[in-house]
Symmetry: C2
Amino acid sequence: MNSEEVKPIRILIADDHQMFIDGLKALMRREKELVVIGEVSNGNQAMQFIIQERPDLLITDVSMPGMSGIELTRWVKQHHPCVKVLVVTMYNDREIVNEILMSEAEGCILKNTGKQELLNAIKRITDDSTYYSTEVLNIMMTRLKKHKTIEKNTSVLTPREIEIVKLIMEELSSEEIAEKLFISKRTVDTHRKNILQKTNTRTIVGLLKFAIENNLTEYNSD
Amino acid sequence: MNSEEVKPIRILIADDHQMFIDGLKALMRREKELVVIGEVSNGNQAMQFIIQERPDLLITDVSMPGMSGIELTRWVKQHHPCVKVLVVTMYNDREIVNEILMSEAEGCILKNTGKQELLNAIKRITDDSTYYSTEVLNIMMTRLKKHKTIEKNTSVLTPREIEIVKLIMEELSSEEIAEKLFISKRTVDTHRKNILQKTNTRTIVGLLKFAIENNLTEYNSD
DNA sequence: TTTCTACTCGGTATTTGTACGGATTAGTCC
DNA sequence: GGACTAATCCGTACAAATACCGAGTAGAAA
């Protein structure tokens, strides 16, 4: 009964900069429920440690010599999904953030994060939730927003033309579209011609790109 | 000097369910720095109010009779970007969440959110940050993750075939591709044939979809 | 050596798309 | 009424893609 009060969270830190590990430990020292049970300086050591000790949480840097933190995260999520992962990164680069998201890490924060945010992140992650810092979210947002900005191009197309573009995207030929809309194949051709002209494209490929940029198909970025 | 202690946050609530407005107000009653300066039940009233009173924060429901909360948000962000917006939704539907993100709202939470999370959200938003609840984030995540899962299809294509797919995506015709690669147009045709077969598609349209799914073009969803 | 795969090339025919030209009808806006 | 646009339709011609058949070579794997 003595040790039943709070089950501590067993943490492994993976980072090739000892200074950073020390900093993290300092931030967590006062928290009784957080116990750093290991520190390693590269991905392979981390894998070994995880296999043997099964920590509750892995805090890892993105860039490490050899296996990167992202690869490590992928490995963890594939082989030990119960181990939560909080990725820490120096740069809030678009591509890196994307990779982190894809790697299915439970959270991501920047290295300059303060104590309170770090603790929040750990709390939410260990509560089976996720935590992504504001900066990281902003990157996600801008990525998603990008589409929106272009969207007005669509306005040059008439409703009928848009309808046709959508059908083209469904891999229908002009003839099939004609049947479906009860109009002549010639009409469809004319629409196509006008569409290509309005969208400044020469071939269907260009048209497809336009359609995706303008969300004219359920087939976009989602 | 008397009113300088804390500048209160002036809030407008827009929701067509009075009960919900009352609930929100109850949650915020104890917080001195939060002042509800207005309540409206549809988008047009909200617009009028915002023009006249310039609240610091708008809390709005997604679905309202007439102008939806999302349209309202878009209008706010376009005409009064200083007014922060927290969108509250009953459903964590994929499409709705997408719309909310696109509308550039600073935050989004579900209607069943507890007091603490609501206050957190307001705090982060008014600190020029953003707040999206865990459930909402999860939806974003699954959207982004989807790509990853499919990605292995590419392996069925040979390096040369992938090369050709990429060139097709750059709007080159078979003949142009042949010139570029110093091979016969027939060879390109054969590759095309094999590619279509391997990818189970009939036309370039289908192929393009495949290419995007498999990141064979810089042109993907990001 | 044989087998297999990736890559290469060819012929013929058909289907589909694009480029060029033209036209009519219905409706809106001034 | 006149100007404009969206939507409809047609002909001719060429370009491009797809379907179908075939085959040879180089290199790796068995």
